[in-house]
């Protein structure tokens, strides 16, 4: 029952993040669009690695490939690696102070961007580099809120024993 609840929460949070990733925003915001989906996956990888591991990262990346018209596997490769690093440091992550946590998350998202930049260059979609780093600023602004929201959701799910139905 709880397993089912986790799966549903994971699915819904990722679907919401992917939807946010394709919401049309004003042009001047384009370069600063935060990586909603990647941040959500990284959150799960860091806080509940036994519920969402590298495979979920891969699936999210694949969904991003579809939604962003890139070569299949491009985002998937980057999110797979990012998820792996997030899962690997999840134990240490719990010990860190708030500021350190934010820095680690930024580092993970930077790794995601580096890999994406590198592999899209290999796949022939090279893009000028400064534009590639601007989303990190938005990520920095969004992460604390996303973090708080996800903690709140998970707290509610985990607090209640599975009594209903």
């Amino acid at each position: 029952m709880t397993r089912w609840k986790y799966a549903l929460t994971l699915f819904l949070s990722l679907t919401a993040a992917l939807t946010l990733a394709v919401v049309p925003v004003p042009v001047w915001l384009h370069d600063y669009a935060p990586d909603w989906a990647v941040m959500t996956v990284v959150w799960w990888n860091l806080h509940r690695p036994n519920k969402a591991s590298v495979g979920v990262g891969w699936l999210t990346g694949l969904a991003l490939d579809i939604l962003r018209f890139t070569t299949l596997g491009l985002h998937a490769f980057a999110t797979t690696a990012t998820s792996y690093f997030a899962v690997r440091i999840n134990l240490q992550f719990r010990m860190f102070a708030v500021v350190q946590k934010i820095l680690i998350v930024l580092l993970l998202l930077a790794i995601y961007r580096i890999i994406l930049f590198w592999i899209s260059g290999l796949a022939g979609n090279a893009v000028s580099s400064p534009a590639h780093w601007k989303p990190l600023l938005a990520d920095l602004l969004v992460w604390p809120w996303l973090n708080a929201l996800m903690h709140e959701i998970l707290r509610r799910i985990e607090a209640k024993p599975a009594t209903e139905n």
């Binding site: 579809i66 018209f69 070569t71 090279a126 534009a131 601007k134």
Partner: protein
Amino acid sequence: MKSALFSEGSAPLFRLIFFSLLSVALIFLDQRSHALDSARELLGNLSYPLLRVADAPSSLTRNLREFWQSHEQLSQDNRRLRDENHVLHAQLLQLRSLRAENQKLRELLKSSQRIANRFIASRLLAVTMTPGLHRIIIDKGAHDGVEPDMSILDDHGVMGHISRVYAYHAEAILISDANHAIPVSVQRSGIRSIAAGLGRTDQLKLLYLPVNADIRVGDEVVTSGLGGKFPPDYPVGVIREIARSPDSPFADIRVEPYARLDTSKEILIVTADLEAHTTESGPDQ
């Protein structure tokens, strides 16, 4: 310490290797062959509800605005549109006689007829926010008669062409995309070139034009129709900047696109039969 970490991390490591290899295989397959096209189409169709949900807030506000518009404003709009329609009709009359004349001249020259284009009106559904990739999603698909390689326009100029078609939506690539190029000609002098995207919505670059080419700032650039992908003679943009440097045999020419690539919401899809035009350019002596 390392072994303690490793016992935790060996499963993720295995997954990392597995999924990375899978991704690389996917990239390779998707780039080199069409083996994944049907899978992509299926997944693309599955993403349609997501796109609809993402578009919901903006379409809701639009509908609400239309609903609450006052009667006065509606009738005002109506009057304005009717006037505009009259003017357009008058212009169309002129165009019709011009077309007849053109047809007659073509018959005299024994060149084949140009096919009149039809349009499908569509609306912008989503845009990509990956820097350099200028792709959009529009809300008409195979169901509405959209096919790959059709051109898209807004009411100012050429926007790009359809790259992938799903059941109820389609992907289009804009002329400003860093990987896009469109065959064009300069209207005043007839010089042919290619307008390549730079990943910026306000600039295209004309390729391979020598420094002494007959080109001036302010010249209008239209589609040439060569290559058969784009119908000929649709406006693309206007030349804004010409830089001739002594160490390059080519001039650096920047074109400002007419189409409002970053703001247009209403998009026309041109369903052109281009065969007639491509046979025309063949040598027939």
